[in-house]
Amino acid sequence: MMQNMRETLEKENFLIESAFTYSEAMSKIGVYEYDCILLDITLPDGNGLDILNVLKEKGIMDSVIIVSAKDSLDDKIKGLDLGADDYLPKPFHMAELNARVKAVLRRRKFDGANLLQLDNVTIDIDAHQVKVDGKILELNRKEFDVLFYLAANKDRLVSKSALAEHVWGDYIDQASNFDFIYSQIKNLRKKLSDCHAGIEIKAVYGIGYKLTVL
C-alpha cells in the first residue's frame, strides 16, 4: 500500500519519506518539518491519532490527511476535531489521493489565485472557471469537476470508478456500470477541441481516462 502511494506521489515529483511504525513516525516529526503528512490510524505499535495529538500540541503546522481503513464516523470526527485537514478512508484510488494531497497543499499556500495552467488552458479553481487562450470556456458543474480532477492527475490514468466517485458522489459507487461518464467526457472533449485547447482526454481501454498536454 505504502509502496503504491509512494510511487504515485513520486510521479508528481513530491519528495516522500515513509515511517512504518508509531515510534519511527514520532522520531521523524521531531526532526523534520513536512508539507503534508499522510497518517494511518492503525499502526503496529500505536494509534495514529496519538501522533496527530502530539503534532497539534507542539503547534506543528504540517498538513495532515488521515488515511484509514477504519471507515468509521468516530475516527473521522475525532481526526478532524484534532485538526486533521482531510480524511481519506481506505480503500481509495491513487488518483483521489493525488487530488486530495494537491488540494491540501494548495490550501496551505495563501498566496494569490488558485490557478492551474496546462498549456493554453487555465483552470481557476476558486472561481470554477476555465479559460482557453484567455477566453472563457463554458462548462457545466460536472464537466468542470471532471476536467479539474483529470488535470490534477495530469498524464495519469484515472479509472472510471475513481472519476465517478469523485464527481458524482459517494453513492454512485454501487452503480455497477460507469459508462454513463462517457457522455460527459464526450461533451468535454468536443468543447476542448472546438476552442483548440492544448490538452486532450484519452480513453484507456476499458479502464479509464488520461489527460495529456498535446
Binding site: T42, G169, Y171
Partner: protein, 422 residues
C-alpha cells in the same frame, strides 16, 4: 400472568375443592353427633317421664303435647309385643315460629300396673337448612379469609424471596449488548438464585465477548480484505499507466480491474450490511429528507441519462424522520439505482415524496417475488451489481423504524418507504 398471581390462582382452585369436600364431611359428622346427643336426651327424658308416672298416674292421661313434650297413650298387649324403641324425624307445629318445624321423636312402650302404654317424647331439632346455610357461609368466609391471607403472605414473603429474581429481570430488561454495562447482581442466600445469577452473568459475558469479537472481526475483515484489494487495483492501474501494453492486453487488464472493483464493492456492501445489523451507526437526528432526495436524484441524473431513463420528482410534502444521514442517503440511492437499472430505456422513474412516505415507481412487466427481493443475493439484480442493494435498504429501514414495502400494480413496480403504520 405474574408469578405471584399464578400461585394464588392455583391455591384458589385447590382450596375451593378441598373446602367443599371438607364441608360435606364436616356436615355429616356434625349431624351424626347432633342426632346422637338428641337421641340420648330423649331416652333420658323418657325414663324420667316413666319414673314420674309411677308417682303421679295423672301423667298417664296426657294425650297432647300441650305444656310438656311427651304424650302417653294406652295400648293393648298385642300391639306392645315386639315393639322396639324407635327414633324418627317428624314435623310439629311450633307456636313461636308459626310453622311446622322438624322435631326428633322417640316412640317407646312401657307397662305400669298391668297396663301397657305407648310414650312419644319429642324434642326440637336443629333446623337442617339453617345449619347448612350457616355452614355454607362460614366456609365461604373461611375460604375468602384464606385466599386473602395467602395473597398477603405471597405478596410479603414471595416478594421478599423472589426479589433477586425480579432485580435480575429488570436489569436484563435494561441490558443492551451495545453499551454492555456490567450487570450488578443482588446478593442472595437462595442457592437457585445465586446459580441463576452466576449463569446469566456467564452467558452475558460470553455474548458481549462474542459481540465484541464479531465487531472486531468485521473491522479486521475490512482491513484485511480491503487493503489487498486496493493494492491490487492500484498496482494494476500503475501497470496500465507505466507499461506500453498492446490493446488486447490493456483490455484484459481492464477486465481484471473491473472484477476487482466489483469485489471491492461487494466487500464494502457486506461490511455495510453487517455494520447496520450490528447497529454500529450513530443515531442521528430528525431531519427533512427532501433535500437529500433532490441531491441524490441530481447525482443520478447522468446515470439515468445513460440508461435512457428520465428521473422525475414530485414533492407533495416534507418527509421527516430521525436517522443517520449517511444511511438515509444509502437507502435512497439504493432504491433509486434499483429503479433505474430495472427500467427499460425510454421510461421514467418517478419519485414521489409526501409527508407519510417516499415512493419509487418504475414501469415493469411482471411482479417480483416480494418474499425474496429483500434477501441477500436473492434479487433479480443483474450480474453486474452486488445483489445486496435491497438487502441493505431493508436493513436500513428496519434500523430507522421505517416500513419498506414492495407493490406491483398497473404495470408499475412501487417501492415505498413509510412511517410505521402503528
Amino acid at each position: 400472568m405474574k408469578l405471584l398471581n399464578y400461585t394464588t390462582t392455583y391455591f384458589a382452585v385447590i382450596l375451593i375443592f378441598l373446602l367443599a369436600i371438607w364441608a360435606v364431611l364436616f356436615y355429616f359428622e356434625i349431624m351424626d353427633e347432633i342426632y346422637d346427643s338428641l337421641d340420648d336426651g330423649l331416652d333420658n327424658q323418657k325414663m324420667l317421664v316413666i319414673r314420674r308416672a309411677k308417682d303421679d298416674p295423672a301423667i298417664l292421661q296426657r294425650s297432647t303435647f300441650e305444656d310438656g313434650n311427651y304424650i302417653i297413650t294406652p295400648i293393648n298387649l298385642e300391639s306392645s309385643r315386639g315393639f322396639t324403641d324407635s327414633f324418627r324425624d317428624t314435623l310439629m307445629f311450633m307456636e313461636n315460629e308459626a310453622e311446622y318445624e322438624p322435631v326428633r321423636l322417640l316412640e317407646s312402650v312401657f307397662h305400669q300396673d298391668g297396663n301397657y302404654y305407648k310414650i312419644k317424647v319429642v324434642t326440637s331439632m336443629v333446623e337442617e337448612d339453617d345449619l347448612r346455610k350457616e355452614l355454607f357461609f362460614s366456609i365461604l368466609y373461611l375460604y375468602l379469609g384464606l385466599i386473602f391471607v395467602i395473597l398477603l403472605l405471597n405478596n410479603i414473603l414471595q416478594k421478599k424471596a423472589w426479589r433477586p429474581f425480579y432485580k435480575l429481570l429488570s436489569r436484563l430488561e435494561r441490558f443492551s449488548i451495545e453499551d454492555a454495562k456490567e450487570i450488578k447482581y443482588e446478593k442472595t442466600n437462595i442457592d437457585e438464585f445465586r446459580l441463576l445469577n452466576e449463569r446469566v452473568d456467564r452467558l452475558l459475558k460470553k455474548s458481549v465477548e462474542s459481540y465484541k469479537s464479531q465487531k472486531e472481526f468485521i473491522e479486521n475483515a475490512s482491513h484485511e480484505l480491503q487493503t489487498p484489494l486496493a493494492i491490487s487495483i492500484n498496482k494494476l492501474e500503475l501497470m496500465a499507466e507505466n507499461s506500453n501494453l498492446n490493446e488486447e492486453q490493456m483490455e484484459e487488464l481492464g477486465t481484471v480491474l473491473n472484477s476487482l472493483e466489483r469485489l471491492t464493492r461487494l466487500n464494502k456492501s457486506l461490511l455495510l450490511l453487517s455494520r447496520i445489523e450490528n447497529r454500529q451507526f450513530e443515531e442521528g437526528e430528525k431531519f427533512s429528507w427532501n433535500g437529500l432526495i433532490v441531491q441524490i436524484i441530481a447525482e443520478f441524473e447522468d446515470f439515468g441519462l445513460h440508461q435512457q431513463v428520465s428521473l422525475e420528482i414530485t414533492e407533495k410534502g416534507i418527509f421527516e424522520h430521525r436517522g443517520n444521514r449517511d444511511l438515509a442517503a444509502i437507502l435512497i440511492s439504493n432504491l433509486l439505482r434499483n429503479a433505474i437499472i430495472h427500467s427499460s430505456s425510454g421510461t421514467t422513474v418517478k419519485v414521489i415524496v409526501s409527508e407519510e412516505s417516499i415512493r419509487f415507481e418504475n414501469p415493469g412487466n411482471e411482479a417480483l417475488d416480494e418474499t425474496r427481493i429483500f434477501s441477500r443475493f436473492q434479487g433479480t439484480e443483474s450480474a453486474r451489481s452486488t445483489g445486496l442493494g435491497l438487502a441493505i435498504s431493508k436493513a436500513i429501514s428496519e434500523r430507522f423504524n421505517l416500513d419498506l414495502t414492495y407493490q406491483f400494480s398497473a404495470e408499475t413496480h412501487i417501492f415505498t418507504i413509510g412511517h410505521h403504520s402503528s
